[in-house]
């Protein structure tokens, strides 16, 4: 809430996106014996997008499509191999270590496995104090004030009940709240949530997603929400990016994408998804054959062409499809829109 910049600056920066990513590539070198290079995994391979302030977006894709690597690159945990990530107009590559530390305070991170995300040998108070200590807030009273505030915000009240607890004493939902509280404690302007509910029970999922959404709106945060489950996206994000094999293949506002999917891969995803309905048992779903390609050796041209029912030989298997805009604000990279 107090992270919003002074109003004069606000008008100046409201035009510039919070995050702007251009032709981002994150490749991981495979090495043998620590030094001999044997190949690269192209986890993120040419991704472009911008995120506005206070916007909630979702990155959707199968596991191994590079969405988590993208998140980690945005968080500065991986060095991009090529391309630019700009945060508030400044390229991340140009940050010195002091500025990088500040950047880390501006971006919160919520992970998939809440139990694993919390050091098991620290109690909740210590877990929440750690980021404060690292960012130079050493005044005990100030620490305590901030800790209590985020616990209230994440509905872990009364705080005194939770502060001395160790992660294993909490339920999955409570653990994930602590993770969210930790992400919030440095008062960031963006939160990256990587599959925040996929390891939780169905009844808790909605609760955590609602909490994230509520915090996002009340703090005017940018929320980048990464998931493999399209059905959870609808109520918790405004825009969707669909990723496949290291690339974004389609992006559009939620309703637009769900109602008018353009890319064959998105079609396949939507066709495979079930809402609970007894009639499901009576029909088989259409599923594209094969599996997602290896990122070590991705197919040429459109990465989806080996599985695509509409693949055109000589086109899709040769050239990378550019971004087309078949409908307004709806981008899809598929040669069908040519």
């Amino acid at each position: 809430m107090n992270t919003s910049p002074p109003s004069a600056a606000a008008t100046a920066t409201s035009e510039t996106p919070l995050v702007s990513v251009r032709d981002l590539r994150t490749w991981f070198e495979l090495r043998q014996w620590g030094f001999v290079r044997v190949g690269s995994v192209r986890a993120v391979d040419g991704v472009n997008f911008t995120l506005k302030r206070g916007e909630a977006v979702a990155f959707v894709g199968e596991s191994g499509c590079g969405k988590s690597s993208l998140a980690r690159t945005l968080l500065g945990l991986h060095q991009p191999t090529a391309g630019v990530v700009e945060f508030e107009g400044r390229s991340m590559a140009s940050l010195n270590s002091r500025e990088l530390l500040d950047y880390r305070a501006r971006v919160g991170y919520v992970q998939q496995d809440p139990y694993g995300a919390l050091p098991p040998f620290m109690d909740v108070r210590r877990i929440l104090r750690e980021p404060l200590i690292i960012h130079g807030i050493r005044n005990r009273a100030e620490q305590e004030r901030r800790i209590r505030k985020v616990l209230e915000e994440t509905r872990l009240s009364p705080p005194d009940e939770y502060l001395p607890k160790f992660p294993h004493m909490l339920s999955g939902g409570q653990q994930q709240r602590v993770v969210i509280a930790r992400a919030l404690i440095l008062e960031p302007s963006m939160i990256i949530a990587d599959e925040p509910v996929s390891m939780l029970d169905a009844s808790v999922r909605v609760e955590i997603l609602s909490l994230l959404r509520r915090i996002q709106t009340s703090h005017e945060l940018t929320l980048a929400f990464i998931t493999h489950d399209l059905s959870t996206v609808r109520h918790f994000a405004e825009r969707i990016f669909v990723m496949y094999a290291g690339r974004i293949v389609e992006s559009a506002p939620v309703e637009e994408l769900l109602n008018h999917p353009q890319h064959p891969y998105t079609h396949a995803l939507l066709a495979a998804l079930a809402d609970p309905d007894p009639d499901n048992a009576l029909r088989e779903r259409e599923v594209p054959s094969g599996e997602a390609p290896s990122l070590l050796n991705p197919p040429s041209g459109c990465r989806f062409h080996p599985r695509c029912p509409h693949a055109m030989s000589g086109v899709c298997d040769v050239d990378d499809p550019p971004d087309f805009e078949p409908r307004r604000g709806h981008i899809s990279s598929c040669w069908l829109h040519r």
Binding site: E62, S203, A274, P276
Partner: protein, 325 residues
């Protein structure tokens, strides 16, 4: 009913010891499964549904404290069989299973083909050639290239491994296959394609399934009937149509309302509170604490009340229905 059910379970209990006391993981379950029927056992994590699967196949943890009840398979009580008879006559030949976390369900140092063919070789004493031919058949059935017979598990992707585990469960043509969260770790597309395989098998071979899952949406892909578990007990058994369209138990209703749906405007709602501790489950209705329609009688333990044809609900709200003829 005239025909005996394939599997009929009565008052099944499994309690085990932990460092903090006795955990009542399965606490008095009764249900049945007909031939060529798929029963989905739904429940949140820790409600005892995996213990149920293990109890049926008698692969009990070392710290079992109490295990009782009747499990009738085609009219014979298989709980009463001695260990050796059970192993030779029931395991895998009549009831097979697909385990949760199939990643680890395969022996890492044995080629998958051999592992799949193993039940035939050991239980039916088939020779290697014949067993491998059959293995190749089931590989085709579940949609894996037979080239993979010679591979080791770590050379396969997660989806492939899951199919191998499924192939292993089908190789003996068992009457009942228990599927314990078979797709929870998989991608949407792989999940859908494995569900397709299951549907096809059920249609073509008449196999019965017991699918254990926490994922309501996926469960609807194959369910003929649904049994909902809560804190070691069944709270509702219905046909799939009734359960998904008109859930009866308050917990069923809340659960259905909490499922995010792709094609529905309504925003999902969450269930407040937490499931009770299985070390010391509350007296009376175990859901009472979280139940919006709780009333005085909920302090007593409700029994399963009958509500229409093959439908039962463990809730005092339906006590009247239970008295109806």
């Amino acid at each position: 009913m005239a025909s005996t059910p394939l599997l009929s379970v009565e008052d099944l209990k499994l309690h085990y010891r932990s460092s903090r006391g006795v955990v009542k993981a399965v606490d008095g379950l009764s249900f049945d499964i007909q031939r060529n029927e798929a029963l989905v056992v739904l429940g949140e994590s820790g409600c005892g549904k995996s213990s149920l699967a293990k109890t049926l196949l008698r692969i009990l943890p070392r710290n079992v404290h109490h295990c009782s009840g009747r499990v009738m398979l085609d009219g014979t009580d298989i709980m009463a069989l001695d260990e050796e008879r059970f192993r030779r006559d029931v395991r895998w030949l009549r009831i097979a299973m697909v385990m949760q976390a199939s990643m680890n369900a395969l022996n890492p140092v044995v080629r998958v083909g051999e592992q799949v063919a193993e039940p035939l070789r050991v239980l039916r004493k088939w020779d290697r050639q014949r067993a491998m031919r059959k293995a190749a058949e089931v590989f085709e059935l579940v949609g894996i290239s037979t080239d993979f017979l010679q591979r080791y598990p770590f050379e396969l992707s997660g989806g492939m491994r899951q199919r191998v585990v499924l192939a292993m469960a089908l190789i003996t043509d068992p009457e009942l296959v228990i599927l314990d969260e078979p797709t929870s770790a998989l991608d949407v597309l792989t999940q859908a394609s494995i569900m397709n395989v299951l549907k096809r098998i059920k249609r073509e071979r008449g196999t019965s399934f017991m699918l254990i899952t926490h994922d309501v949406a996926t469960s609807s892909e194959i369910a003929d009937r649904v049994a909902l578990m809560y804190a070691g007990q069944l709270v509702e058994i219905s046909t799939a149509g009734e359960f998904f369209r008109h859930p009866a138990h308050p917990y069923s209703k809340l659960l259905m309302a909490s499922v995010p749906r792709l094609r529905q405007e309504q925003r999902p709602a969450h269930i407040p509170g937490q499931p009770p501790n299985l070390l010391a489950p509350p007296d009376g209705c175990r859901f009472a604490d979280r139940c919006p329609s709780r009333f005085q009688r909920c302090a007593e333990d409700p029994k399963m009340f009958r509500l229409g044809y093959r439908r039962q609900v463990r809730c005092w709200l339906f006590a009247e229905g239970g008295k109806r003829p």
